[in-house]
Structure formats: C-alpha cells, structure tokens
Amino acid sequence: MSRVLVGVKRVIDYAVKIRVKPDHSGVVTDGVKHSMNPFCEIAVEEAVKLKEKKLIKEVVAVSCGPTQVTETIRTALAMGCDRGIHVEVSGKDYEAMGPLQISKIFAALAKKEEASLIILGKQAIDDDCNQTGQMTAALLDWPQGTFASEVTIDGEKVKVVREIDGGLETIKISMPAVLTADLRLNTPRYATLPNIMKAKKKKIANMKPADLGVDMVSRVEVLRVDEPPTRLAGVKVETVDDLVAKLRANGTI
C-alpha cells in the first residue's frame, strides 16, 4: 500500500477582480483574498477518495511558499489528507518561483517520501502554466497521466481517462506515476466540521528547498505585466462582402 503526494497551491481566489500593480511588475496580492487553486482541490479530493477506497495508505499535502500557504495545507488536511509538508520559500525566490522549481522540489520529495503517486492540479489559475505535472514526471522519469477525468488503480498500474482535444483518451501507466487533475475528475467535498477540528492536530513538516538540494534560481524574468486591452466597440456591416473588405483593410486577412 502506498503513499500519495498532493500538491496544493495558494492562489488569488477565482472570484476576486485582479488588479495590476501601478509599477507593472505583477498583480496586487496584499490584502486580497486567496484560496486553494480549484484544480488542486480536485487533486486532493481524488487522493482522499483513493484513501477511502483503501487503495492507498497515506496522503501528504505539499505546498511551497511563505507562511501563509500553511492555511492552504490546513484546508487540505481538513479535506482528509493525513499530514502536510510546507516547503518554505519567501521574498524574491517566491516571486520568481515557477513550475521548474516546483517540479524539482516535488521530484526530490517524491524520492524522500517514497511516494508511488503524485497528484497535481492540471494548472494553476494564476499563471495557467500547465507544466508542473509534466516537468515533475520528466525529472523523475515516471509515466504521466495528465488532464485526468477518471482515475482507476488496478494493482500496480493506473488507468487514466484523459480529456484531449479530440475527445477522451484512455491510457494505462505503471506506478509510480504523476497524474494531473482536470475539471471533471470529481466534485471536491466541503470540509466537515469534525475534520476541521482534526486538521488542527495533524502535522505540517517544515523544510527549505536547500534541504532537498533544490536551487531556486529562475531562468525566467518577468519584464512587465499589463491588463488586457479594454474591449473596443465592434462595427456592424451589412453584407458578407463588406465583412471581407473590412477584414482585408484591417490587415486581418
């Protein structure tokens, strides 16, 4: 029986209206409501479900960032994870943190914790990278089942139904493996009050990327962040010929 690592990311809540900082270096995060990335919630739910079916033994919630991310780990614990790991990253390192650093951390943790499955959300709603799962699998040289809409464990193998552009693709991969959760995988549960109480007693281990031998240097530099251009009013045309003419004049075709 096995151990699963679940990644949870603390992101700006989906309902919040995002504002760009006046210096265009990023978005305003101070005093803004944050919550667990919705795809990470789905990942946690899947892991907890597997544990309830007794297919895996332990679920470990992992998050990287400053102290505030422990709130997110606690929410994961309240949903049913057994323990948490907080990889402390703050300041400039946190601002520059991206999928490459996270996947290195997860790869190191997977080896340290002897995990047989890593379940992540397919992407985060703040950066929409959709890279961490894939990079982690590559670093570990593990098979990956991404955009999972259905996961079935069958002995030492995992059957994954993936949502792809053409429809649904079913693959069978061996464990250990990396899975990334897509929207229709499950409906995350609300934490029950007794579980919130129990979450208080569950352990969250604290460590730094250096402890895992991971260097946080980023090869990516954000030059500028801008709001999307305001939508301009459209122009109505009478006929299809007019439309084609306008598009030609515009340089679009």
């Binding site: 609300y190 029950t192 009050l193």
Partner: protein, 434 residues
C-alpha cells in the same frame, strides 16, 4: 482600599487589544476589590475574550470559510426559489448534516461536530447569509431541539433523540408557545396527566417552526397546575405520533422555506421515560434553552443583516446616478456606514455572549443584548438596503426584499425585543443591587 483607584486601575487594563492573538487564555490579571466587582466582573473576566475578538482562532476561521463557501455556492443561488415556492431545503439540510453543521455542539461520540458555541454562532451566521430560512432550520435544530436534550437528557435519551438528528436526515422542533400564551410562557395550558406507564398530553401549541418537517419535538406541558410555572414539565414526542396532529402551515411574511404550524395534542400517549429532566423543571429548561437559543437567533439575524449590507454595498458600486456610482453620494455612504456599524456591534455582542457561554460564565444578559441588537440591526439593514436599491429593492429580482421580510421575525421569536429588554434590565439592576 480606595475603590475609585481600583476602578481606574482596572479600567486601564480593559482595552480593545487589536493584535492577532490566538485564543490563548492568558488573563490580564486585574484584581478589582470593590463592591462594583460584579458590575465590572463580567467586563474584566471577559477581557481575555475581548482581545481575541479582533481575530478569531484559526480553526474558527476555517470553519467560517467552509460555511461561507457552502452558503455562497449552494444556498445563495436557490434561496429566492425556496422563498417563492415555500420549499423546505431538505437536500441542503442533509448536506449540512454531513458537514456537522446540524449538531455543532454535540460531542463526537453522539455524532456531532464537537465544537464550541462560537463556532456554532459563526456557522449559523454564514448559512443565514446564504438563506435566512435554512439558517433558521439549523438554529432551531441545534439550539432549541438538541440543546435541552444535551443539557438535561439522560444518556439513553441523548442516544435516542440526538444521534439520529445530527445527520440532517431528521430535524427536531421546540413547542412552547400556545395560542393563548407566547411571552407569558408560565401560563402553559397544555396538560399532561399520568395514566399508568404513560403520560397523556392534551392541548395545542402554536407557531412551531419546522413542525411539518420534524421527526420529534421537545414539548412543554403542565403536570401540576397548582404549582403554576413550577408545575410545567418537558417531554420528548416523536413525530408523527398517534394523538399528535399538525395544523395548517402558516402563510408567513418571511423565512418561507420553513414550515410553521400548530401542534395539536389529543390524548397523545408517550412512555414515562419520555419526560425530559425532572418533573416540574420544564419552565427552567425552557428559559435556559431560550437563553442559548438567543445566540443562535442573533447569529441568524446577523447573517440576514450582512446579506442586506452586501447587496446594498454592491449596488452602490454599480448603479450610477448624476453621472457617478451612487456610492459616491454622501446620503448612500451614511446609510452604508450606519448599516455596517449596526452589524459589527451586534456581531461583537453575539461573539462575546458565545464566548462567555463557552467559558461557562453567566451569559444571560449578553445573550439578550446580542439578540436585541442583532435583530434590530437586521430589520434596520433590510430596510436601508431596499432604500439604497430604490425601485430595484422593491422587486423580487433582487434579494433585498427577501432580507427585509426574513429579518422581521428575528425581533419576535425566541423572545420578543420587549422581553429581551426586560431580561437585560433585570440582570442589570441585579448588578447594581445595594
């Protein structure tokens, strides 16, 4: 000992400390040796609680967030429909039961969440913010039905009458008021006489919330008329039950998703073991139950008030008049400020009452103050919210009119505002008694 000096020393220590201190329980250690100890007593001993009101403990914050998420996603979208069609939120009550919200204070061994009254108050407030009726169902089940059984029931009664009511599959109700007496609870004319191994109940109870959806009731009847209010006893009656029938559902102004009706008892027979607490202690049980129930209703009122404020504040940003969002107009700003102050002050009173109860300190006065303040805040906010929305506030497209209607009952049930004032004055005068 110079009592005035002692008072001033004490006063320096009583401050609203705004730092994120967790509920650690460190008293500020002020000893006030004066005749006024009692008057200040609750204030001084409440000191520890005052500082933690600035920021709730982490667990309570998480719990509040969970309930808020549930209310926003599951209750908000259907609240209008539940109200229009007078539908009991059965599915949602079951889901809340699974979360532990239907039995917050009940210990885990009996199937509850095992949390404290502050957590319960937060839960009811957030649920009521989504749907006032659902908040009412939660409050009645927790405070009025489970409350007295938890406090006065035998272990066997607790297992039989509490555990099945923790899951949301079954809800309970509380039958005290009668057509002939509401505030005058001591004049109960429902009678209970013993016949062999049974109690036989006769009479009518009025205005019973949850009646049509309940599977059991805590009901009060006179066992010894000569003892007046000391002759009232409490009983547990399953529903449905031979001899117990329900009157027609009342057509109410607000909280329309709950069912309110008369309970008619005609030679309703129950086993002797169904008496709750000792014989003649019914009035005491009722009064103590209502004391705690007040915190629940205060929380419900807070939720409705907050929802009204949310609606008005949101509208103030979006609606433009005279070239600007109406939020820029002082008239609207003053209204919103008044609403916010009313809600926040009532909330702090409610939290304090809940914390005092959790600390097992006397909380009657604070609970009455909380209920009074919160219910008046709710009706005020409901009224002002419609005013801010103008014509839009008067139609069912916006929730303002539903908040206005839902808020009204909070000033009436579980002790009218007039009764609350009597309770507060009574407690206050006791503190100043020579």
């Amino acid at each position: 000992m110079n009592n005035i000096a002692a008072l001033f020393k004490a006063r320096k220590g009583i401050g609203f400390v705004v730092h994120p201190s967790v509920f650690s329980g460190a008293r500020t250690g002020i000893k006030v040796k004066s005749e006024r100890t009692e008057a200040l007593g609750l204030c001084v001993s409440g000191c520890r609680s005052l500082s933690s009101l600035a920021e709730l403990p982490e667990m309570h914050q998480m719990m509040r967030q969970t309930c808020r998420d549930y209310a926003d996603r599951e209750l908000g979208p259907i609240a209008g429909k539940l109200d229009k069609e007078h539908l009991f939120p059965g599915q949602q009550v079951r889901e809340l039961g699974a979360m532990g919200v239907m039995a917050v204070e009940v210990p885990e061994e009996l199937g509850g969440a095992g949390m404290d009254y502050l957590a319960y108050s937060l839960a009811v407030e957030e649920i009521s913010r989504g749907c006032g009726s659902t908040g009412c169902v939660v409050s009645v089940n927790n405070s009025l039905y489970i409350g007295p059984i938890l406090k006065f029931g035998t272990q066997k009664q607790k297992e039989q009458w509490i555990t099945p009511f923790t899951t949301g599959e079954k809800v309970g109700c509380f039958a005290l008021s009668e057509p002939g007496n509401g505030s005058d609870a001591g004049a109960a004319s429902t009678l209970a006489r013993q016949e062999g191994e049974e109690w036989v109940l006769n009479g009518t109870k009025a205005w019973i919330t949850n009646s049509w959806d309940a599977s059991a009731t805590v009901i009060f009847a006179t066992t010894d008329k000569s003892l007046k209010h000391k002759g009232i006893s409490a009983f547990l009656v399953p529903m449905p039950h031979p001899g117990l029938s329900l009157g027609k559902k009342e057509d109410k102004l607000g909280i329309r998703a709950t069912s309110t009706a008369n309970l008619i008892l005609e030679d309703c027979r129950i086993p002797l073991g169904n008496m709750l607490g000792p014989r003649g202690s019914g009035f005491k049980i009722a009064m103590q139950t209502l004391d705690s129930g007040r915190i629940g209703i205060a929380s419900q009122a807070l939720g409705i008030a907050q929802a009204a404020l949310d609606c008005a504040a949101d509208y103030a940003h979006k609606r433009t008049a005279f070239g600007n969002p109406i939020g820029k107009l002082q008239a609207i700003q003053f209204k919103l400020a008044d609403m916010a102050v009313a809600v926040e002050s009532a909330r702090l009173l409610t939290w304090k009452a809940a914390m005092l109860k959790d600390a097992k300190k006397p909380f009657t006065k604070e609970a009455a103050m909380a209920k009074l303040a919160a219910s008046e805040a709710a009706t005020f906010c409901g009224h002002q919210s419609i005013q801010v929305l103008g014509g839009m506030g008067y139609v069912t497209d916006m929730p303002a009119e539903r908040h206005y209607r839902d808020a009204r009952i909070t000033e009436i049930y579980e002790g009218t505002s007039e009764i609350q004032r009597l309770v507060i004055a009574g407690q206050l005068l006791k503190e100043y008694a020579p």
